[in-house]
Symmetry: C2
Subunit: 341 residues, 2 copies
């Protein structure tokens, strides 16, 4: 799962960004979440488990997902303690999917995929991921709320389905925007949406508010992922730490490329067929791909879609009572697209 990292890493101004402000506002809750994560990550019998997860759980994470759960619960006036468990649940699910995404095939390695599992073998990634799934499952059961379990079970199915879909859609020039959206929901938006929704559910918010939170998470996740896919063809490697053209080299069908294929003529189709379907790439192909995208204006169209989803995320929250946290979540939706405005 390749992700944008919008959480303040490239904010150099002295006024704090929305992500830092969210962190500050939720600091006490997040400390409880972190303590719980460390406790539940441990395994009496299998010490390798915290070894494998530590580098993911401790170092890497900006913890946006658990913060969404905490914020949603607080916005809806929740005063219990189960939001801590659900926030940890959401982070465990996220970490488990990262571990499973690390599993590579030989061919995958040869194509120069980022092999985050260099430190650990495939088998450890799979089994420790399964362990984190099981731990997340135990945590959510502890909340004793069947509706929460239902939401997270459905999210898990959408995530897994989206990942399989991405696998089968890979290198398939017939991939449509609808399929792409389904993939994006699986890899990012489903967990964002569930993270927000369960916060509202445990707070016993009214149905319309719960739906608003869910819609916010869904739109935020989609926007987040489209920005990431766009930057793969347009950001600058120096400032964002991501190489331009990774998705192209990995022959991933993301929004900019899907739109370009749809708009292209026969000779362009041959180009996409060679580079994406067959994977026969030569020096200069990436530049030509970007030129084709620009000629059809698909990078701009992709940008507009990201902005549109960001706007939808903000709009969804409008019906909730105004509060500092609600406004901050809206600011987060702006922040996600701040690198492409």
């Amino acid at each position: 799962m390749v992700e944008a990292k919008p959480e303040g890493t490239n904010r150099m101004s002295d006024t704090k960004g929305p992500f830092e402000r969210l962190q500050a506002l939720l600091a006490t809750d997040m400390q409880a979440v972190n303590t719980l994560i460390r406790a539940r990550m441990a395994s009496e019998h299998a010490p390798r488990i915290p070894e494998v997860t530590a580098h993911l759980v401790e170092a890497g994470g900006k913890r946006l997902r658990p913060m969404l759960t905490l914020a949603a619960a607080r916005i809806c006036g929740y005063e219990g303690a189960d939001h801590i468990k659900l926030a940890a649940t959401v982070e465990f699910i996220h970490t488990a999917t990262l571990l499973h995404d690390d599993v590579v095939d030989e061919s995958g390695q040869r194509r120069g995929r980022p092999t985050a599992n260099l430190l650990w073998d495939n088998k450890s990634s799979v089994l420790v991921g399964d362990y984190l799934f099981a731990r997340s499952f135990q945590l959510m059961v502890e909340t004793g709320t069947l509706r929460v379990l239902d939401i997270l079970a459905n999210a898990s199915a959408v995530i897994a389905e989206g990942e399989v879909l991405q696998l089968t859609a890979a290198q398939d020039l017939a991939t449509t925007e609808a399929v792409y959206l389904q993939v994006v929901r699986g890899k990012t938006a489903a967990l964002f949406a569930a993270a927000c929704e369960v916060g509202g559910v445990i707070a016993k918010a009214d149905e319309a508010d719960v739906n608003a939170l869910r819609a916010y998470g869904d739109a935020l996740g989609i926007s987040f992922q489209i920005v990431d896919d766009l930057l793969d063809y347009g950001g600058t490697a120096a400032s964002f730490g991501k190489n331009i053209g990774d998705d192209f080299r990995e022959r991933k069908l993301t929004m900019p490329i899907i739109l370009a294929i749809a708009a292209g003529d026969d000779s362009e189709r041959e180009f996409w067929k060679r580079t994406i379907e067959k994977g026969e790439q030569q020096p200069g192909d990436l530049e030509h791909a970007i030129a084709l995208m620009n000629s059809h204006n698909t990078l701009e169209a992709t940008r507009q879609k990201a902005l549109d989803w960001s706007r939808r995320a903000k709009d969804a929250l409008e019906r909730l009572p105004q509060s500092e946290l609600r406004d901050l979540l809206q600011d987060i939706a702006d922040f996600v697209v701040s690198r492409i405005v």
Copy 2:
């Protein structure tokens, strides 16, 4: 997950074995389970999913685990329909763990592991396994019984922990019988135990009966696995379809070898160090390993342990009211060890 296949495959007599009698008695329920499995395996968006699972779910399985759930519920007088869902849940969890166990590392392949994922790549095995886990999760949530969710969440954690433990204990001569039991619980007994327990729980059986069912499943699973490990050093390849010495070649520390290491002198320890820890195996090593086991009587000791767990399984059911199904489950415990008596 290497398993014994005791389910009637080598029963040639005309009187039906206990497994066939169990199948006959539960035929209507099992038909409903199979229909549900087929329906829930499908994916609107990702057609690869049924492709990958079909060969596992349709062809391979003897469905012992779901039958345990059905039998346990029936024994306790259950008359609802949720046992069907739980039986399908249990089978999905089992199939998912098989898929995840198929994931191999290059080194694993080189050591001549059975690569059940030759047909499908690692990534598909992981992601489709995740999908089946998610589907099983949805199914159990539908029963609306928090205690069932708690049992299956805990079983999932024990399964994953046991698998990780097996990975870290592999090739480690210090592995004790206690660690081995923990691994066996993870790979086999935890799901057997949960499969039985949830049957009692949905039937609202009294606590002692639920515990009896759980104890039965646990002991049956342990016996089942020890028999399998024993046959790896003692069965005949022709009749059981399993090669002698697979575990030795894969350097797995199972009961017969753990007991032999514990009983061995310094020179024997050097032998185990070379063959298991370092994996430097030569022709004749397997025969020497078996000779060492025989000299310390560890194959016989292993056999006694399997028989003992089988007896514990049968004893556990004694407190339940006598019925055809209860007696059949006891016969199944005998049947599991029938190849080693």
